[in-house]
Amino acid sequence: MTKKKILHVDDDRLMTKSVAENIELYLNDYDYTVETAASYTDAIKKVKSQDFDLILLDVMMSVTEEEKQQNNDLEDDMSTGIVLRKAINEFFKDKETKPKLAYFTAKSLDKSEEKFVDKVISKPIVPEQYLRIIRNLLMIETVGTTTY
C-alpha cells in the first residue's frame, strides 16, 4: 500500500497540529503522512520538492514584506491561498500526475474560484465530516490508479 501524503497549508500551527492529530488518530486504514507548511514560501518549497496526494489550502494567511516584494500578486493577507493555488496549478500544468487540491478555509470564496479545486471545506466543520471528505478524495485517487 502506497503511503498517502497530505500537505496542509495554514499559518496557524495549532490548526495544522490538531488536524494532523485527527488524521493520524482516525484515518488509520491507510498509511497517511501529514506535512505542514505555515507560509506561502514554505508551501511552494514543499510542493516543488515533494510529491503529495492531497494539498489542503487555507485562504487567509499572513504574508511577509519580503514575500510581497518577491511576488506582486501577494497584496494582503486576504487571498494568499488563492495566489498559492494559482502557483501550484502553474507548477503542475504539464505534469502527468497532479495532487488533489482542496481549500480548507473559513473565508467565503467566489464561485469562480471553486472550479479550480477538487473540494472546498468550510471551517468550522466537525472532524468526522472533514475526515470523511479527505478519505473520499484520496480513495477516488486510489480507484483511479488501480484502473489505470
Binding site: M15, K107, S108, V126
Partner: protein, 833 residues
C-alpha cells in the same frame, strides 16, 4: 404863484414837455419791457408748474421755447439736453429766414458744433458770440475774451457765421442745481432789431434757466429711474447669464459706452483676481478678435477692480487711464472707466460679499458726471437685487438637483456609488470632468473614481503631453499611487493643506502646479478646482473638477467664488455620504473578520475534543463513556452557539448580496438530525422532564440550496423551539410534499418543513413582527432573557434568498413554524447554480 409862473416862463415849455414825454416814454417802454418779462416768467412758471414727472416733456418745453421766441423776438430758439452723446433737441422754434444747419446738434458730441461749445466752455454762465466785431467775443464782456478759445473753434465760428444767416449766437447752459453740471442748453440766434440782450433781459434769462434746469433735471431723473427700473424688471425674468448680457447691452446703449463688461471675483490659488463673466461691445473685425483674446483674466493686484475695492465706493470713476490700466493691451478708444461694485449686502463693502463688478468704458469725451454717477448708483442697486435673486436661485436649483440625484444613488453598491458621486458632482458644478482621490496610509493619493477615460501628464515648459494614462488601470488601485508625498500638484496641496485650491489655468506657466495627472480634454484653457474630503475629523482624500462647461453661452471658463462655495458645500455632503458608506464597510469588514477569526478557534476546539475522545477510547476501550460524551456534546453545542451567533451577525450585516449564495445538493435530513443531536444538552436541561423531538422527515428529498445557510435557518428555528418549549413536551418536525404558498404575491409550489412546539403562543398581530430585526415578543422576553431577536430575522432573510419563506402556520399550541422551500430547488437549475 409868481415864482412858479416865472419859472415856467423861464424855460421853454416845449422842451420841458418833450423831456417829460421822453422820460415818460422811456418809463413806459421800461414798464412794457418789465411787463413783458414778468409775463414771460409767469407763463414759464405756469408751464413748468403744470409738468407732471411722468408726462412727455416735449410739449411743455416747446411751450417755453415758443414763449422765449415770441417775447424776446429771436429768429431761432432751441432747448436741448446734453447728458449723453446725443445732444437731443427737446424743441426748436425758428423763423423762416434762419436756416439751421443739421450739424448744429448732430451726434456724436465731438462732431456737433454746439456740443463742442458746451463741452468746452460750458462752465460759463452765459455766452454770446456775434460776428459784429469780426472776431468771436463774448459781447457782454468785449474786453474779456473767452480764455483759451481754441483756434479751430474760431475758424469754425467764422465759417459758421458766413455759411448761415446767423449773426448772433447765444448759449445759456442749463446746469444741474447742486452739482454745477451741464445737463442741457438754450440756444438763441439773431435777435430782431436789437443787438444782443439788455442787462435786465440777461438777468431774467439766467433766472429762467434755473427754472428750466430744475424742470429738465427732475424730469430726467424720474424718466431715467423709470426706464431703468422697467428694464431691470425685464431682466429679472432671465437667467443669470442672459440677464448679465442684457444689462450690459442696456448700459452700453444708455451711457454711450465703448465697451461694457462684467467681472466676477475668482480666488486663484489663494490670490484674489477677476474673471470676465461677460462683455458687450460693437467693435468689428480684428479689434473684436483682439478683445476676445485679451479679456478673460487680470491679475487681482494690479487691475482696476482691486483699485476700486480699495476705494470702497459703489461707483468709481477712473479718468486719464493708461492703456494697461484699462484692462486691455489694445486701444479700445477711451481713457476712462467706471467700476461699479456689486456687493451682496448694502452696508457692507467687504471683499467676501462681492458678487461682481460692472466695468463700463465710456467715451473719451464724457466728462465725469455726478448725474451719471448718481444714476448708475441707483441702477446698481436694482441690478444687485437681480443678481442676488438669480444667484440664490441658481444655488437653490443646484442644491435641489443634487438632493434629487443623491436620492437616486445606490449606496449598497460601493464601486458604483463612487462613480455616481463623481458624475453627480460634475453635473452640479457644471464641470467637464470630476475625479475622486483617496489617500492611503502613507498619505499618498490614488484614484478612487472618475468620469474621465484618459489622463495625461503635461509639460508646461514645452507645452507637450508627456505621457498618457488609461483611467481604468488606476481606478481603486491602492498601489497605483498618483500623487506622492511632497507633490506640488494642486490636488495634493488641497489634501495636505486641507483647503480648496482653485487654479485658473493649469497649463499657464505662472500656475503654481504640476500637471502630472490631468484629464485629457480639447480645451486650451483648463481651470481646476480641488477640495478635501474630510470625515471623522480626518482628511481622507480630494475631489477635483476640471474645466467649466460652456453652458448658456457662459463666457467665463473658470470656477468663480460662488463655485468654490458651492463645491465646498458639495464636498461636505459627499464626505458625509462617503463617511456612512465607509463606516458601514468598515463595520462589515470587521464583523466578517471577527466571524472568520472566530471559526478557527472553534475548529481547533472541535478537533481537540475529537482527539481527546479518540485517545480516551484507545486508553479505556471498555469504559463507560456516556457521561463523557454528554460533556462533549454540551461543549459542542456551546461552541456551535458562539459560531452561529457570528454567522447570524454576518448574515445581518452582509445581507446586501455581499456574499454570494452557493447552491449545492444538500441533504436537509442530515442537517436536521445533526441539529437535534447538537441540541441534546439543551433539550435535556431538566433530565427528569426532557423535551422530546419527533421527526417525520424520511421522505424529504435532497435539494439544491446553500447548505451552510440553510443549516443556519434550521438551527435558528429548531433552537428557538427548544428554547421556548415547556419541559416534558414534544417538538415535532414534519415534512410535507407539495404545498402551495403565496410568496411575493405569487402562488408557489413548495416543500414544507414544520416545526411545532408547546410553550408560547403567538398573537395574530405578531405574525410578521417576529421576523423583524430585534423584535421579541413580550412573552418571549419574559420567558427567556438571552434571545436577541435576530435568529428569525436572519432565517427569513436566508429563506428569501432561496425564494422561500418562513411563516407562523399555527399560533395556538402547538405553535407551528413552517419553512417553505420552492419545489424547483429539487432540481439543479441554471439560475440557482
Amino acid at each position: 404863484m409868481k415864482i412858479l409862473s416865472n419859472k415856467i416862463l423861464r424855460f421853454s415849455r416845449y422842451e420841458e414837455l418833450q423831456e417829460i414825454e421822453v422820460a415818460y416814454n422811456n418809463d413806459k417802454k421800461t414798464l412794457q419791457d418789465y411787463e413783458k418779462l414778468a409775463r414771460l416768467h409767469l407763463n414759464i412758471a405756469k408751464t413748468i408748474g403744470s409738468i407732471d414727472a411722468w408726462d412727455n416733456i416735449d410739449t411743455p418745453i416747446e411751450e417755453i421755447t415758443r414763449q422765449i421766441f415770441d417775447v424776446l423776438n429771436f429768429e431761432y430758439v432751441c432747448i436741448g439736453r446734453c447728458l449723453t452723446k446725443d445732444l437731443k433737441d427737446y424743441k426748436y422754434i425758428t423763423s423762416k429766414s434762419v436756416k439751421i444747419p443739421e450739424h448744429l446738434v448732430s451726434s456724436p458730441i465731438e462732431d456737433s458744433f454746439i456740443g463742442q461749445i458746451i463741452l468746452t466752455y460750458g462752465n460759463r454762465e452765459i455766452f454770446v458770440w456775434s460776428e459784429q466785431d469780426g472776431d468771436i467775443t463774448d459781447i457782454k464782456n468785449t474786453k474779456n475774451k473767452i480764455p483759451n478759445i481754441q483756434p479751430n473753434h474760431i475758424e469754425r465760428f467764422k465759417s459758421y457765421f458766413s455759411f448761415t444767416k446767423v449773426k448772433q449766437f447765444m448759449v445759456i447752459p442749463l446746469k444741474h442745481i447742486a452739482k454745477e453740471e451741464v445737463i442741457g442748453y438754450i440756444v438763441m440766434c439773431n435777435r430782431n432789431g436789437q443787438n444782443g440782450l439788455e442787462r435786465m433781459e440777461e438777468e431774467s434769462l439766467k433766472a429762467l434757466s434755473v427754472y428750466i434746469s430744475r424742470c429738465i433735471g427732475r424730469h430726467l431723473f424720474y424718466r431715467y429711474e423709470h426706464n431703468d427700473t422697467q428694464k431691470i424688471r425685464k431682466i429679472h425674468n432671465l437667467n443669470y447669464e442672459l440677464g448679465i448680457k442684457e444689462t450690459l447691452k442696456y448700459l452700453y446703449d444708455e451711457f454711450s459706452l465703448m465697451l461694457a463688461a462684467f467681472w466676477i471675483p475668482v480666488t486663484d490659488d489663494n490670490q484674489p483676481c477677476f474673471a470676465m463673466e461677460d462683455h458687450y461691445h460693437e467693435f468689428k473685425g480684428r479689434k473684436e478678435e483682439a478683445i476676445e483674446k485679451e479679456v478673460g483674466f487680470r491679475d487681482g493686484k494690479i487691475c482696476l477692480k482691486s483699485d476700486a475695492l480699495k476705494r470702497r465706493k459703489k461707483v468709481n470713476w477712473f479718468e486719464n487711464l493708461t492703456k494697461d490700466k484699462l484692462g486691455f493691451s489694445i486701444d479700445i478708444g477711451t481713457n476712462q472707466a467706471i467700476v461699479v461694485l456689486i456687493h451682496d449686502d448694502n452696508e457692507s463693502t467687504k471683499d467676501d460679499d462681492l458678487l461682481g463688478a460692472f466695468v463700463l468704458y465710456p467715451q473719451k469725451s464724457l466728462k465725469k458726471s455726478h448725474v451719471v454717477e448718481e444714476r448708475i448708483k441707483i441702477l446698481a442697486d436694482d441690478i444687485k437685487h437681480y443678481l442676488q435673486a438669480t444667484l440664490f436661485d441658481r444655488h437653490y436649483k443646484q442644491i435641489e438637483l443634487l438632493r434629487e440625484q443623491l436620492l437616486g444613488v445606490d449606496f449598497n453598491n460601493s464601486d458604483n456609488f463612487y462613480r455616481e458621486i463623481v458624475g453627480l458632482v460634475n453635473n452640479t458644478l457644471q464641470s467637464k470632468y470630476c475625479s475622486l482621490f483617496f489617500a492611503n496610509e502613507k498619505e499618498e493619493l490614488y484614484l478612487k473614481a472618475t468620469n474621465a477615460k484618459k489622463f495625461t501628464s503635461f509639460d508646461k515648459g514645452t507645452l507637450e503631453n508627456k505621457k498618457n494614462f488609461i483611467a481604468i488601470n488606476y481606478i481603486n488601485k491602492k498601489d497605483e499611487i498618483i500623487y506622492k508625498k511632497n507633490s506640488r500638484s494642486a490636488t495634493y496641496r488641497a489634501f495636505i493643506n486641507e483647503n480648496t485650491v482653485n487654479i485658473y489655468n493649469i497649463y499657464s506657466k505662472n500656475a503654481k502646479t504640476e500637471t502630472i495627472f490631468c484629464e485629457v480634454s480639447s480645451y486650451e484653457h483648463e481651470p481646476v478646482i480641488a477640495t478635501p474630503i474630510k470625515y471623522q475629523g480626518k482628511i481622507r482624500g480630494v475631489i477635483r473638477c476640471i474645466n467649466k462647461e460652456n453652458l448658456n453661452g457662459r463666457t467665463i471658463q473658470a470656477f468663480d467664488d460662488l463655485d468654490i462655495k458651492m463645491f465646498e458645500f458639495l464636498a461636505q455632503i459627499v464626505s458625509k455620504f462617503i463617511e456612512n458608506i465607509e463606516k458601514d464597510k468598515d463595520q462589515r469588514n470587521f464583523v466578517n473578520h471577527l466571524a472568520h477569526e472566530n471559526r478557527t478557534p472553534v475548529q481547533i476546539i472541535w478537533n481537540d475534543m475529537h482527539s481527546i475522545k479518540r485517545r480516551i477510547e484507545q486508553l479505556a476501550p471498555t469504559g463507560n463513556h456516556r457521561a463523557l460524551n454528554k460533556t462533549f456534546k454540551r461543549l459542542r453545542l456551546q461552541t456551535e452557539i458562539i459560531n452561529n451567533n457570528y454567522d447570524n451577525l454576518e448574515a445581518v450585516l452582509t445581507d446586501k448580496d455581499l456574499i454570494a449564495y452557493r447552491f449545492n445538493k444538500t441533504d436537509l435530513k442530515e442537517h436536521i438530525y445533526d441539529i437535534v443531536e447538537l441540541l441534546e444538552p439543551k433539550l435535556q436541561e431538566d433530565e427528569e422532564r426532557p423535551i422530546r423531538v419527533e421527526t417525520q422527515i424520511k421522505n424529504m428529498p435532497e435539494v439544491y440550496v446553500d447548505g451552510r445557510k440553510i443549516y443556519q435557518v434550521f438551527y435558528n428555528v429548531i433552537s428557538n423551539a427548544a428554547r421556548y418549549s415547556t419541559y416534558d413536551s414534544t417538538i415535532k418536525i414534519k415534512y410535507n410534499d407539495s404545498v402551495e404558498v403565496i410568496i411575493d404575491n405569487k402562488l408557489v409550489k413548495c416543500l414544507e418543513i414544520t416545526v411545532s412546539n408547546y410553550g408560547i403562543e403567538i398573537s395574530a398581530d405578531e405574525f410578521d413582527l417576529i421576523f423583524k430585526q430585534y423584535y421579541r415578543s413580550p412573552i418571549a422576553r419574559a420567558k427567556n432573557a438571552t434571545g436577541k431577536g435576530i435568529g428569525l430575522y436572519v432565517a427569513q432573510t436566508i429563506m428569501m434568498k432561496h425564494g422561500g419563506i418562513i411563516q407562523v402556520t399555527q399560533s395556538t399550541e402547538p405553535t407551528t413554524f413552517s419553512i417553505f422551500l420552492p419545489n424547483k430547488l429539487k432540481s439543479k437549475s441554471p439560475d440557482t447554480n
